[in-house]
């Protein structure tokens, strides 16, 4: 997944050579791959991801050629990493996100995956995920993905309630989801579903229906996100014009609490603020790599990458992206090299979201000083804190950003 607004950063060189910092300690860090597929059948009103419909691109040409372009970046990445002094590492996880990866023929996805595995190799039992819209898969396509090396699929279910799906501009029929989940199961894929709560017009009962329905499919994993009104989206405009009521944080809080209770009862435990899994092993390893500050290369337009405190991101438009690679140049649009303080800030910001928690010993004086206050406010688990780990309570998960701010110097 890549958001549509790129950060402001430093220029990135055409040869893709990374600053020296990227290689420091790389051998002990895991390495992952993200592949962005920037295409969707229609654009959902709330979505600000870097994705394009066929009409927006003026035809399907770039979709057809996309796999070849992506493979070119895989090869570029392998060369640039070697040239930057990074050790050869096997892929620890792979994630295809979008957009809608499954809008491309399964063969395109497995081709890109194959090229990556050819370059780097892949660890035994590595997680390989693709996002999918429920109405963009068939039993056959899922089978092909599985056979090509995919182990996991994440379905954009969002809601089980028609009028909510309508506000979200989702095209799929609710009945389509259990079908898709069943097929994925059948071919042997691990299954996750994404839900969105707090959509304008969604009642608490609607949300309960969605949660119970999702649980009834017995997925291995559920992500539940409160609806974010992103600037520049159709939804933002509708709210501004008063055509759709605004979202409400208090409503989100209640729905989060309800979902957490139902997931727990349904056998799923939280491991990140917005993520629940059946067993620890079912947690999304790829996303954990993000939160742990591991290394990953993101291929595709607008994709973000991270290597040892160097973050960069590609040009957004598929055409500009393809042109760069055609010329043998890095598709990066900009990058930033984080200093030690900033990396520490990111670490606190990301790891504090996880159920495994943040080791209090690793915090600076300001962070350690804040711990007692956080216990007093009921934001972190006291017993875990006594044992040296900072873990959010339910209230703390809802006020996670406030906890992070409190821990910063």
């Amino acid at each position: 997944m890549t958001p549509s607004v790129l950060p402001l950063g430093d220029p990135a060189p055409a040869d893709g050579i990374l600053p020296a910092q990227a290689a420091v300690g790389a051998a002990s860090r895991k390495f992952s791959l993200y592949a962005h597929i920037p295409f969707c059948a229609v654009r959902c009103g709330y979505c600000d991801f870097n994705t394009y419909t066929a009409t927006e691109l003026g035809g399907g040409a770039s979709q057809d050629a996309y796999a070849s372009t992506a493979v070119r970046e895989v090869e570029f990445a392998a060369r640039a990493m070697t040239a930057s002094g990074l050790p050869q590492r096997k892929l620890s996880t792979v994630f295809f996100g979008g957009g809608t990866p499954t809008l491309l023929p399964a063969g395109d996805l497995t081709r890109i995956l194959g090229a990556a595995v050819e370059q780097w190799g892949i660890e035994e039992g590595a997680e390989v995920t693709t996002e999918a819209n429920p109405d963009s898969v068939t039993l056959e396509s899922l089978q092909e993905l599985h056979d090509g090396g995919f182990t996991r699929v994440s379905f954009g279910m969002q809601s089980a309630v028609s009028h909510v799906l309508k506000v979200l501009d989702r095209t799929h029929k609710p009945e389509r989801v259990p079908q898709a989940v069943a097929w994925a199961r059948e071919v042997g894929l691990n299954v996750s579903v994404d839900l969105i709560y707090g959509t304008p017009g969604e009642s608490l009962a609607d949300w309960e229906t969605s949660v119970r329905t999702a649980l009834s499919y017995e997925p291995d994993h559920i992500s539940a996100y409160s609806l974010i009104v992103e600037e520049g989206t159709k939804l933002a405009a509708q709210i501004r014009r008063g055509q759709v009521p605004n979202i409400d944080d208090d409503d989100h809080a209640v729905k989060y609490e309800l979902a957490d209770a139902l997931f727990q009862a349904g056998g799923l435990s939280w491991y990140e603020v917005s993520n629940w899994s059946r067993t620890p092993a079912d947690a999304c390893q790829h996303n954990l790599a993000y939160w742990h500050g591991d290394d990953w290369w993101g291929i595709g337009p607008g994709a973000h990458s991270h290597m040892g405190g160097v973050r960069w991101w590609n040009v957004k438009h598929p055409t500009a992206y393809a042109n760069r690679l055609d010329k043998g140049e890095s598709p990066a649009a900009g990058r930033e090299t984080l200093d030690a303080d900033t990396r520490e800030l990111e670490r606190i910001m990301l790891v504090s979201r996880l159920s495994e928690g943040l080791s209090i010993d690793t915090l600076g004086p300001a962070g350690r000083h804040a711990v007692a206050g956080l216990i007093a406010e009921g934001l972190i688990e006291p017993l875990k804190a006594f044992a040296g780990t900072l873990v959010l309570t339910l209230k703390g998960r809802l006020l996670g950003d406030a906890v992070t701010r409190a821990l910063l110097p």
């Binding site: 997944m1 890549t2 958001p3 607004v5 950060p7 950063g9 993200y34 996100y225 409160s226 974010i228 944080d249 208090d250 989100h252 809080a253 209640v254 989060y256 603020v273 917005s274 996303n287 993000y290 939160w291 990953w296 993101g298 607008g302 994709a303 973000h304 991270h306 973050r311 991101w313 930033e336 900033t342 800030l345 990111e346 910001m349 990301l350 979201r353 406010e377 934001l379 998960r397 809802l398 006020l399 996670g400 950003d401 406030a402 992070t404 701010r405 910063l408």
Partner: protein, 618 residues
Amino acid sequence: MSPMARTAPVPAATDPAIIRNFCIIAHIDHGKSTLADRMLQLTGVVQQRDMKAQYLDRMDIERERGITIKSQAVRIPWEVDGTAYCLNMIDTPGHVDFTYEVSRSLAACEGAILLVDAAQGIEAQTLANLYLAMENNLTIIPVLNKIDLPSAQPEKYAAELANLIGGKPEDVLMVSGKTGVGVEALLDQIVRELPPPVGDPNAPARAMIFDSVYDTYRGVVTYVRVIDGSLSPREKIQMMSTRATHELLEIGVSSPEPTPSKGLGVGEVGYLITGVKDVRQSKVGDTVTTFHKPATESLGGYQDAKPMVFSGLYPLDGADYPVLRDALEKLMLNDAALVYEPESSAALGFGFRVGFLGLLHLEITRERLEREHNLDLISTAPNVEYEVTLEDKKIIHVTNPSEYPSGKIAEVREPMVSATILAPSEFVGAIMELCQSRRGILGGMDYLSEDRVEIRYRLPLAEIVFDFFDILKSKTRGYGSLDWKADGDQVADLVKVDILLQGEQVDAFSAITHRDKAYAYGVMMTGKLRNLIPRQQFEVPIQAAIGARIIARESIRAIRKDVLAKCYGGDISRKRKLLEKQKEGKKRMKMVGRVEVPQEAFIAALTTDESSKDKSKK
């Protein structure tokens, strides 16, 4: 036709018989500065190419706001019937906040041009200044300006003017400062009608200070009008109010650039430079005499400027406190009416309590501080000075609500004003309703013409310092005008309303109000704050209280969710930047107990809607 004077009379040797000292009385925007410009041009004092609009309004703020804050005096030559005359034009400030300065300028003249916009008619401030002119026995020349405007109604307003000063409508001159029409005739009329100054050239020197301006390069420039005797260069002069003596470094006249002269004789108007650095050493209204042959009696009429409105000024960034202190010190050099002392507020930090002549004076001062010293300031709600008598008969003067004693009060007196409001008669009802709601007592009502009325009220000053004028303007669709002057004090039933956040009093929001209005203030302020203070992790009660009695309450519900739901690879930089921004924002929060209050909330709570509109300047 009157030609430009071929030979201008020389300063220090000018026969009083050919001198005419005059000023222009006009409401803001009726065209005083434009007319003055035209006169400078016609008399050749300012060359065409040097002419910039409103030549005499020197300060940036004056130019931008189009108002005259500091008066200036210009010597202009004009010939009538073959005789060269010397006209001294004294430009007076038009706004009521500066009434005292106006009255001193008037005292330096024998005559006044009463300038009225032919499309607007008389306004309240014109009346007030006209009243001052008559008090000073000035000869009045009524003039209608802007007769070039299609909307001008010269007949109507000529009748109104004649009615007011007791003359004939035909005697009212018609001019246009813009096109120059009628300006020469006006200059002729000044020579013919105004009496020349009279004084005793042989008596000890007495000159009245009508303005005193600080200039970075030359120190204080003092503008005087000589009544008796004469002043000459390199003489030691003496200020009669303090007996302080100063060396006279330069003496001269403005024409309009400062031009040194051999001195100033009876009836002449010019400037003195003594090297003093503070306008307080050379105060408006004081009498200048010579050290070697001092006069025994001063000209009288001198009074210290009395601040009427007080407000706390605080730098937004506490680190700017020394900058604000230095800035005020500098401003004081040029503004004898400004008084201040340091104060501190639990909520706002260190700042100053500053006394002003009125609201405009406050606004101009604040704007100059911000602009000329690059400061961001918070000003607390303006209030007046109360005289509180305690039960033990001790009297204290309160200019800051937080100094208001709790309990044991025998009596509180509040300053009163007499206000004159002029407006089209259709608005009488609305105006009376407004004044009544502000505890006003009707003093009288007169029709200036069929459809224009003058209404006089006695009102507590406190009731007009905040938003009265803005409301008057809106209730009269912009046509109402207001003038006021101090008018003693009265006993009043006043209380202090405190605002509490989570039980902690926030000094910056305390207010002294009439008991009947305490509730309204409490409801207004608690409501405002509820919308301005962001939700915290706990519920925050906001209360308004008189002493221990709660009169209004609101509450800010605890925030329940403050976390970004999604945080994946592409979100990290964005989310980090957001956090960094929030962290910066936290530094700009003021802590009231456990409650984090953004600076913006203080500013917004202390600003009226009207004045915040003004602030949307460039």
